[in-house]
Amino acid sequence: MTSTSSRTRSSRTSRLRASRRRRAPSGSRTVWIVAAAVVVAAAVIALVAGGGGHKTTAGSGSTGAIAEFRPVTVTGSPLAALPQSGPDPARGLPAPELRGQTFDGQPVTVTADGEPKVVLMVAHWCPHCQREVPLLAKYFQTNGLPKGARLVTIATDTNANSPNYPPSAWLARVGWPLPAMADDAGFTAARAYGLSAFPFFCAIDAQNKVVLRVTGELSTAQLEQVLNAARTGTVPPGSP
């Protein structure tokens, strides 16, 4: 039994060896020479044309006077995370107060100052934000900035390894007309508002109560509804 099995193994090995000996016909080597040449050519072109200097690790996030992260302080209780569906548990609760800075260090606040406002949180890497921000920027350039409610932009979840970094350059490039608060590296502002997805909108009324929180791309008409919710303190029917 054992010798039969060993003979079978030996015969299989011989067949494999013979088969490998057979596979060196004339054009055979050409295939591998061509394949190797293609790989080497691609590597050489990549080395020459690929250039250098792509950031792979998070740096300080600071370039001269511009910093992608700025300290943010929160006063008040953080809001629960916005659920994907169902009623918003934060509706009617006091909005946390935020004190932060723009990318170039100018103060930006979201405080109980009696003014209705909408907080918009965006992430530079988010494709939905990359579509929403230019859309709104164009709308504001054409129609002017919102009246009767202040729109506060916060750039958060910033990551130097992610696409479309840095957010300061992105917002400048798309002509964002409003000062944007740079969230800190712990994303304090985002956590305080219970951010669950991007882009994130939170309407706050004149009494500093949360009226509405929504996520996702909004049309300009839907944005007006969110602004109206902040102005009136009520959620209009059909609002997002």
Binding site: A46, A123, F198
Partner: protein, 184 residues
């Protein structure tokens, strides 16, 4: 090498893979009508019967290495769909490697099917990159599949590179038929 250089290198290999797929399909489809293509098809068939499995192994190995480079060196965090594609590509490396070593052409339908499934996921991922609202109207905070980490030549993103590799493996599995001159 920097991340830009490696991504350019992999993008060029993806272009070569795409050209190879088109070339193989054209040669095989046109061999019935044009004598020149028939001659080429005969030569290609013989070459692939000998080396098709090894070439497919090399494609899977390079795709796997590239995927690991992007996640482990460049720190591009793989999303859910990336993991699905990885689960199709990674096993092909040992499977095709062993089959190439043993010259076991019986692996072709199995490896081809796995690669086709991976390619289908890649197609969906590419669609999602172009139409982010297909899946959701908002970006999840935790690494959504709509992020485009790399874009080369205007269209080569990581899922497109993966799709190129899957497509070439499927094509090689289809056309690497064993011949009497080849192995069993």
């Amino acid at each position: 090498m920097t991340v830009r250089q490696v991504s350019l290198f992999l993008a060029m290999l993806a272009v070569v893979a795409q050209a190879s797929v088109v070339g193989l399909v054209v040669v095989n489809a046109g061999s019935g009508s044009w004598p020149t293509l028939r001659r080429w098809q005969a030569a290609v068939s013989q070459t692939l019967s000998l080396h098709g499995l090894t070439l497919a192994f090399c494609v899977a190995a390079v795709a796997t290495a590239g995927s690991l480079y992007f996640s482990e060196v460049a720190h591009f965090v793989p999303c859910r769909l990336c993991w699905y594609q990885r689960s199709a590509m990674y096993p092909l490396v040992p499977i095709l490697g062993l089959a190439a070593w043993r010259r076991d052409h019986h692996i072709r339908p199995y490896a081809g099917l796995v690669a086709a499934l991976g390619g289908t996921i890649s197609v969906y991922h590419v669609l999602l990159e172009h139409y982010p609202s297909l899946e959701a109207g908002a970006c999840e905070v935790a690494n959504p599949c709509t992020i485009i980490w790399v874009r080369r030549f205007g269209y080569l993103t990581i899922p497109v590179m993966a799709l190129s590799a899957f497509a070439l493996i499927v094509t090689l599995m289809v056309f690497s038929r064993p011949t009497p001159e080849g192995a069993r």
